[in-house]
């Protein structure tokens, strides 16, 4: 019998860690991984609240979130690959085309 609030607290911690990773890392691939961590933190919150509410609807939402994350990963990694082909770099600070 674990309190559901523990899971909720863990999801908050994971979300904040994802944000830290997104700010601190400088290559696009690891920044993208940090975004995935944030998505998973949201999933954990959904499932914890589904358990607290006693309804499986939250789990269905998580199913959709995982599907969308898979599609997002495919397109995002394709874009990163394109950027690497053009710039020969995946550092975030090299993407300054729109900076003028």
């Amino acid at each position: 019998m674990i309190p559901v609030s523990y899971f909720f607290g863990l999801s908050i911690v994971l979300f904040v860690l994802g944000i830290i990773g997104f700010f601190v890392k400088r290559d696009l691939i690891t920044m993208f991984m940090a975004v995935e961590v944030m998505l998973n933190a949201a999933n954990l919150a959904f499932i914890a609240l589904a358990k607290a509410a006693g309804s499986p609807a939250g789990q269905v939402i998580v199913f959709f979130v995982i599907t969308v994350a898979a599609a997002e990963a495919a397109v995002g990694l394709a874009i990163i690959l394109l950027v690497f082909r053009q710039k020969k770099s995946i550092k975030a600070e090299d993407m300054r085309l729109m900076k003028g």
């Binding site: 019998m1 674990i2 309190p3 559901v4 609030s5 523990y6 899971f7 909720f8 863990l10 908050i12 911690v13 994971l14 979300f15 904040v16 860690l17 994802g18 944000i19 830290i20 990773g21 700010f23 601190v24 400088r26 290559d27 691939i29 690891t30 991984m33 940090a34 961590v37 998973n40 999933n43 954990l44 499932i47 914890a48 609240l49 589904a50 358990k51 607290a52 006693g54 499986p56 609807a57 789990q59 269905v60 998580v62 199913f63 959709f64 995982i66 599907t67 969308v68 994350a69 898979a70 599609a71 495919a74 397109v75 990694l77 394709a78 874009i79 990163i80 690959l81 394109l82 690497f84």
Partner: protein
């Protein structure tokens, strides 16, 4: 027993994410993330969601991370990217993160006590989930297939090399 399992998985998960952030090598980052996602699957299992736990491990820790590793292999930087030279951005991001953590904790403080405990009636059996997916959530389910086709075609068109080049 359950509480011990929770703390073991939680520490593995947070440790995996921290390892991902601190590791200099991208491939190591990806492997740390696999660890974090796998232990998150275990946490989903503790929360009475066996189907989502299996999907998490198969799709996230399996398929998506393999995609990441493939891209890391294709990009193949000889040396890792050096950490940020400017210290103030690190301090600023740490400060912002602590601020956000406090803000989120304040936001959920009132609800945490009302959440109850795990155990009791089982809610997330695959049968029940499948029934919901094909009745109440039928339209989102079908739209998801369109989304996946679009992502698939988009990814292929994006990385395809032009024939003239």
């Amino acid at each position: 027993m359950g509480i011990f399992l929770f703390f073991l998985l939680a520490i593995l998960c947070v440790g995996g994410v921290l390892g991902m952030i601190l590791s200099r090598n991208q491939a190591h980052s990806a492997l740390f993330l696999v660890l974090a996602f796998a232990s998150l699957g275990g946490l989903f299992g503790l929360l009475d969601a066996p189907f989502i736990a299996a999907v998490q491990i198969l799709i996230y820790a399996g398929a998506i991370m393999v995609l990441f590793i493939f891209v890391i292999m294709m990009v193949n930087l000889e040396q890792g990217i050096a950490p940020e030279k400017k210290r103030w951005t690190l301090g600023l991001s740490a400060g912002l993160a602590v601020f956000l953590l406090g803000e989120l904790a304040m936001a959920v403080r009132g609800t945490l006590g009302a959440l109850g405990r795990t155990g009791g009636q089982s809610i997330g059996s695959p049968t029940e989930l499948g029934r919901l997916l094909f009745t109440d959530y039928l339209y989102p389910f079908e739209i998801t297939s369109v989304l996946i086709i679009a992502a698939l075609v988009g990814a292929i068109v994006l990385v395809k090399k032009k024939e003239k080049e």
